[in-house]
Symmetry: C2
Subunit: 373 residues, 2 copies
C-alpha cells in the first residue's frame, strides 16, 4: 500500500453525488500525465482504462515494474503521440491504484472500506474524472479515448459533457452490457466470493488475501479476451516442458501453464474487491436505458466527432454491438467514422501490436487535430 500512497493524486474536494444516492467528497483520484499541455490548451486527450487497467498507460508502471498497459498505442511517436498531445489517464474510482476504492481507508472506522464501499457506476467514474479538466484548466479536450470499459466511459463522457471534447474514440465496447458479459462478470465475482479468504469483503483488516478466487476470476476473463483461433494458433495442444502427457493435474499443456501464470501475476497487482466493484459498474452500464431506450438521445446535444473501432475476432464486444453505436449516431446525422479491424487477437486486440488498428487511431487523431487548428 505504501507505493500506492505515493502516486500522483488529485483530491476532489467538490461533492459528487453517486448513482447509488450517496455523496462523496475530498476523495483521491490517482492520475498520470504524458506529454505537455500546449499554451492554447487544445492538445489534451483523456484516456480511460479498462477493467484491470490503471493510470500507468505507458512507460514503466512503478508498482508492477512492467510496461504500461497501452504502451503499443501511447507514447512519443506512437498513435497517441505524446510529442504532440498531452495525455491524462486516471485510475477509475473503485480501482486499486490510488483512487478512491474499496481498499481505501474508511476514516470513520480507520479500516479499509471493503464491501462498505458504495457500488459505483460508469457514470460515477466519468463524473469523478471530469474534475481533471478543471484541475488542468482545460476547457475542451481534443479527444477522449478508451477500449472496452474505457470505451464505455468515452460514450458516457460525451453524453454527460457534450461540449467537452472535439473527438471521441470508443474502441471494442458497447452501449449496453450484454447478458453474456454480465454472466462472465458474475462468474468472476462468484469465484472471488467463493474464496475462503474473501470474508464478505473485509479481508484486508484480517490480513487475508482472496488470491485463489481472484486468480480464477482472472483466468476466466483472460480466456474471453482472446479468440478461439488465436488460442489455437498460439497454444494449440503444445505441451509444457514435457515430451508426453503426465496423467496428472499439473499443467501438461502450455495453455494451462499460461493461464495459471496470468492468474498468479494478476493477484500481485489487483485488489479482489476492486474487481467486484468495477465489474459491477460494467454490468450496470446501459446508456440506452439512461435515455429511455433511444441511444441517439445520449449524443443529441453534442458536436463531438466520433471514430468507432471494433475487431473481427472480439466475441466479448463484437462488431454488431459497436455498430449499434454507429447506427445511433447516424440516425441523428452526427459525424461518425467506423472501422472493423481484421485481427485474430480477440478483444485484447486494442492492447496489442495490431498495426491496422494503431494506424487508424494515429491517422484519425492527426487528421482531426489539423482540422481544429
Amino acid at each position: 500500500m505504501n507505493k500506492i500512497e505515493k502516486v500522483k493524486k488529485l483530491i476532489v474536494e467538490k461533492p459528487l453525488k453517486l448513482d447509488c444516492g450517496k455523496t462523496i467528497q475530498n476523495f483521491p483520484l490517482a492520475y498520470e500525465t504524458y506529454g505537455k499541455l500546449n499554451e492554447k490548451k487544445d492538445n489534451a486527450i483523456l484516456v480511460f482504462h479498462a477493467l484491470t487497467g490503471d493510470q500507468f498507460a505507458c512507460g514503466i508502471n512503478p508498482i508492477t515494474k512492467k510496461e504500461g498497459w497501452w504502451s503499443h498505442a501511447l507514447g512519443p511517436g506512437k498513435s497517441i503521440d505524446t510529442n504532440k498531445f498531452f495525455v491524462i489517464c486516471a485510475n477509475v474510482i473503485g480501482g486499486c491504484m490510488g483512487s478512491y476504492g474499496p481498499s481505501h481507508l474508511d476514516d470513520k472506522v480507520d479500516k479499509p472500506f471493503g464491501t462498505n464501499f458504495p457500488v459505483i457506476t460508469i457514470n460515477d467514474m466519468v463524473n469523478a474524472q471530469y474534475n481533471l479538466l478543471e484541475a488542468f484548466k482545460i476547457k475542451k479536450l481534443f479527444s477522449v479515448i478508451g477500449g472496452s470499459m474505457g470505451g464505455m466511459q468515452v460514450l458516457q463522457f460525451v453524453s454527460n459533457f457534450p461540449d467537452s471534447s472535439h473527438t471521441a474514440i470508443p474502441i471494442a465496447c458497447t452501449a449496453s452490457h450484454s447478458a453474456q458479459n454480465i454472466a462472465l462478470n458474475e462468474l468472476g465475482r462468484q469465484s472471488i466470493m467463493a474464496d475462503h479468504n474473501w470474508m464478505n469483503g473485509f479481508y484486508a483488516e484480517k490480513q487475508k488475501v482472496p488470491d485463489k478466487g481472484l486468480a480464477v476470476a482472472r483466468m476466466a476473463a483472460h480466456i474471453t479476451y482472446l479468440s478461439k483461433k488465436g488460442l489455437q494458433e498460439k497454444f494449440g495442444r503444445k505441451l509444457q516442458e514435457r515430451d508426453d502427457l503426465k496423467f496428472g493435474f499439473d499443467a501438461d499443456f502450455q495453455i494451462e501453464s499460461y493461464l495459471r501464470y496470468q492468474g498468479s501475476v494478476f493477484v500481485d497487482r489487483f485488489d479482489a474487491n476492486s474487481y467486484l466493484y468495477i465489474t459491477r459498474a460494467m454490468d450496470y452500464f446501459d446508456l440506452t436505458k439512461q435515455y429511455e431506450g433511444n441511444l441517439s438521445k445520449a449524443f443529441e446535444k453534442s458536436e463531438t466527432k466520433f471514430f468507432i473501432i471494433s475487431f473481427t475476432s472480439d466475441w466479448l464486444y463484437p462488431t454488431s454491438e459497436n455498430r449499434d453505436i454507429v447506427i445511433a449516431l447516424n440516425a441523428i446525422g452526427k459525424d461518425v467514422g467506423f472501422v472493423e479491424i481484421t485481427s485474430d487477437k480477440g478483444h485484447d486486440s486494442f492492447l496489442l501490436d495490431v498495426p491496422d488498428f494503431l494506424n487508424a487511431v494515429k491517422n484519425y487523431l492527426n487528421m482531426s487535430y489539423k482540422k481544429i487548428q
Copy 2:
C-alpha cells in the same frame, strides 16, 4: 452414496489396461437399458453421455428425481425410439453415478480414492464400456451415438472396434480438444482446486465438500453451453424480482440468479473430483494424434456408416471441428452424412428440443435400420 450403491451395475472382471499404464479389474460399470433387445440382437444402440451426464438418459433419474438428460431425444416414439431400439447407457469410468471413479472406495485403505484414482482417458472409458456388448451377448450394435464428450466416445469406439457398430452418430464434438476448450476445462479445475474444502482431493474422508468451487466451475461451463444470442434473447438485462438495480452484489439480473441456481443444483448431484477427472479425459482426447496426425486412419478399418451433426451457434465445438471429421472420412471414401443444424441454443442444442435436430436423428436411425434388415 447409498442410493448410488443400489444402481444397476456390471462388474467388469476382465483386466483393463488404462492409458496411464495401470491395470484395473473387477470394477463396476453402472448402466441403464431402455427398450427391449430383439431376438436377432440387431437393434441395440449404445448411448454415450457428456461431461456431467450419467446412465439415466431418459425417464426419471432416481438420484436427482428429474427427467433424464436426453429425454427430448430418447424414449418411446422419440428420435431414438425405445419401442424399436434397445438402448444401453453407462456411466463413464471416472464418473460419480456408480461407475468406478474417484469417489469409489479404495479397498486397500478403506477410503475413497480421491486423487489417488488414476487419470483416465476417453479411450479407457470406451474400452470399459465395450464389456457391455459381451454382457448382453451383442455381436454388433446397430448404432453408437452421443453429443459433446459422448461424440468423442463415438469416434474412439469406432476407431477401437471397427466392426462393432453398423452406424455412428457423433454430435457437436471434435476429434482433438482445442486450446480454448482445454483452457475452459482448466478454469473449472482451478476453481475446484481453489476451494478451501477440496483438500488435494481427499475431502470425502474428511467429510468436506468443495461445493463453492464446483459451483463456480459449473457456472463457467454453463455460460459456454449457451450462445451469446440465446442468452441475450432469454435474459438480456432483465432484472430478478426487482424494479430497479439495488447497488449491491446480490443477483440484480436474471442471468445472475440463473447461473447461481445452476451452480447450486449441480453440486447436489456431482462429485468435484469426477469433474476433474472427466475434464482431464476430454483435454487429453486427440484421436488425430493417436493415428500419427492422420485422422482418416482412425476409421480406415471400419465399415461403420457415419452421420455427423453440428449446430450453428455452438462455439465450444463449432461446425468447423465437426467438419474436420467429415473431411477425414471423405478422404478415404467412407459413407458419411453431415448436417449443420440452425439453432440459437448453442452447444446445449443436442440436449434441447430442437426439432430439426431431433428429426434428423430419427430419420437417419429409421432409414439405416431398414437397410440392415
